[in-house]
Amino acid sequence: MTLAEISKESERVIKRLEGDEILVARLRELGFIRGESVRVLGRAPFGEPILVEIHGATIALRKDEASCVHL
């Protein structure tokens, strides 16, 4: 399951990152690494971007970006 699929407000642990190289590299630099927990705070109108909380920061991710994050 990826971050793009889970429902609101549930906290999950990141298993791995997978996908386009540059997306994955930037996600990692933003703090998305194995073993860290993330939470979906909500979605913007039109279902995208997804608002994700990690290490106390809110980051807005498009669906294809969020789907690189496997939980």
Binding site: R28, E29, L30, I33, L41, A44, P45, L51, H55
Partner: protein, 668 residues
Amino acid sequence: MRTSVTDGALLGGSASRPSSPIGTEAIVVALVGSPNCGKTTLFNWLTGARSKTVNYPGSTVDYSVGQTHPRLHASETEESITIMDTPGTYSLDPKSPDEKVTSEAIFVHPTFGAARLVISVVDATHLSRHLLVTKQLIKAGFHVVLAVTMRDLLREHDEDLDVAVLSRELGVPVVLIDGRLGSGVKELLAAARVELGRIASGGINQKSAVRQLSPWSEEEIETVLREVIRLSDRVRVALDKRPGDSEELKTARSRTRSLDRVLLHPLWGLTIFLGLMATLFSSIFWLAQPMMDFVDRSLSGLADLVLAWAPESLLAQFVSGGVIASASSVLVFVPQIFILFVGIILLEDSGYLARSATLVDKPLSLLGLGGRSFVPLLSGYACAVPAMMAARTINSRRERLLTLLMIPLMSCSARLPVFALLLSFLFHADAAWKGGVALTGIYILSLVLGAIAVVVVGRFLKIDERTFFMLELPVYRRPRLSLVLRQAFWRTRSYVWRAGPAIFFFALIVWVATTFPNYQLEDKSERLKTSYAAEVGQMIEPVFTPMGGDWRTGVGLISAFAAREVFVSSLAVVFQVTDDDEESMQQTLLSKMHDAKAPDGLPLFTLASVLGLIVFFMIALQCLSTFIVAIRESGNLKFALLQLLGFNIAGYVLAVIVVQGLRALGVA
């Protein structure tokens, strides 16, 4: 105090070269850190500069250099240090042009070489993620001093940091900063001096020590991130008692969460967004009216005084009818520009920009743009030049080019006086809100035109590149009114300074051309008809007749290529707004426009011809600076040339179509 360098990647020599204590090499202390962590705020404290700080990740897109402010020096003889502010970056492995500026400025700057010392700036509330860059800087061999900002926010959480442990674990000096009050800045400078002294005396060969990192591998980043996450947990100390579980702590973060539930709500979020934008643009018109009347009356009074002092003297006629009339025709719209800036600054300081970008990401990506295009496009309403530079935060080349394409179509503040005059003409007798609604209409229409341009050109742009959005949403901050007003004042002042010379210069030319050779004629309209301007004007008139103008409009349109506002000031001179006894020059200009007759004897300014002018000004790219910045930011002369020609031709053709179309429909 400050020299701003236009582009780290392309230029370099323009940074001031300070005297350096050792050797002949210039030294620089660079501020480096994640976006929105407070680097520019710190830079302003250190140097006394007034660089723009915005609560949005990616507000600085170019590096700038300044000298430490003497106020911070221990004694008069103490040497100043050169400080460099850089664009925020999430890592030293750049992913977008603004991040590239940072990496080039600190590793291979043409004047400074590698930075002698780096002040790594991290946000205390995001310590765990921001320390990644610190680690990379240390790894690359830089001498580092760590500045931890947002101390005040930490206090809100009843927390503090154990500076000693942080310093020991990282092996670098650490200073806590409160960017709102400036506490810690002196200590930071002292720490930097100590380090610089150590480098100078220790003879560490800096040059060979610093080396650009190859991008870190997955394992490396994960290991380091894990390390700093652990470290940041360790250095956090609770102050007094931690609040009990039941207590709801009112922190910036929790306030932000609840605000976002509304402001990013599928329904309310969009409604509020549209409402805010409409309010911003319509308030420009009706809020400014009283201030505009005041400016107009004062300047008309001044012009009358000058004329009364020496009615027969040509110089007095030039000063009142040339200089004051043209300056005031533009200055009268300065209150509107001020209000536009206040609105934009409020959006910038609050943190709402990042939310707007998120809200429009999906709709914009249907066009081939993205949420990251929003901030450049919005700043395009103020001025296209910084707006085009702001597009550096977009990583994909395709998206960036399309954003650059659209920016000059946004109605910049230089067009505001033009539209305001033309709309005042159309809605002369009506309530001010009608002008406001019409102006909002112009702004919306410019978006539609921009969207069309993007879709059309997007078809021909064969670049397929991975684009990402991934935007960090900062905490909301309450804008402080005094700061907002001061910032708006500075920006308005630089607007006036920029347009001033062009207005003055053209006032001189147009006045001379419309007054001579028969300056001694009593009958002013006869004087104008036989003037040099009229003579030259007859030759160019055929170009402007199809869009409903005559030679007088033509003179205005051509002089507008110096600066768009000059259209208004040229009209004021051509129509000689000071030879009337009316109290207000703007009223005089409007009524003279009403009375003006085209060569065929029909009114010159009609609904059709004024709409034609509006359409022309909406599209035509009359600004040389925009063209030059477009060359640099697109890195492609052909793109910039096609844009320049395309927009000017399209503006003219569409204006003609509108005028002739309306006339065919029976609308004069």
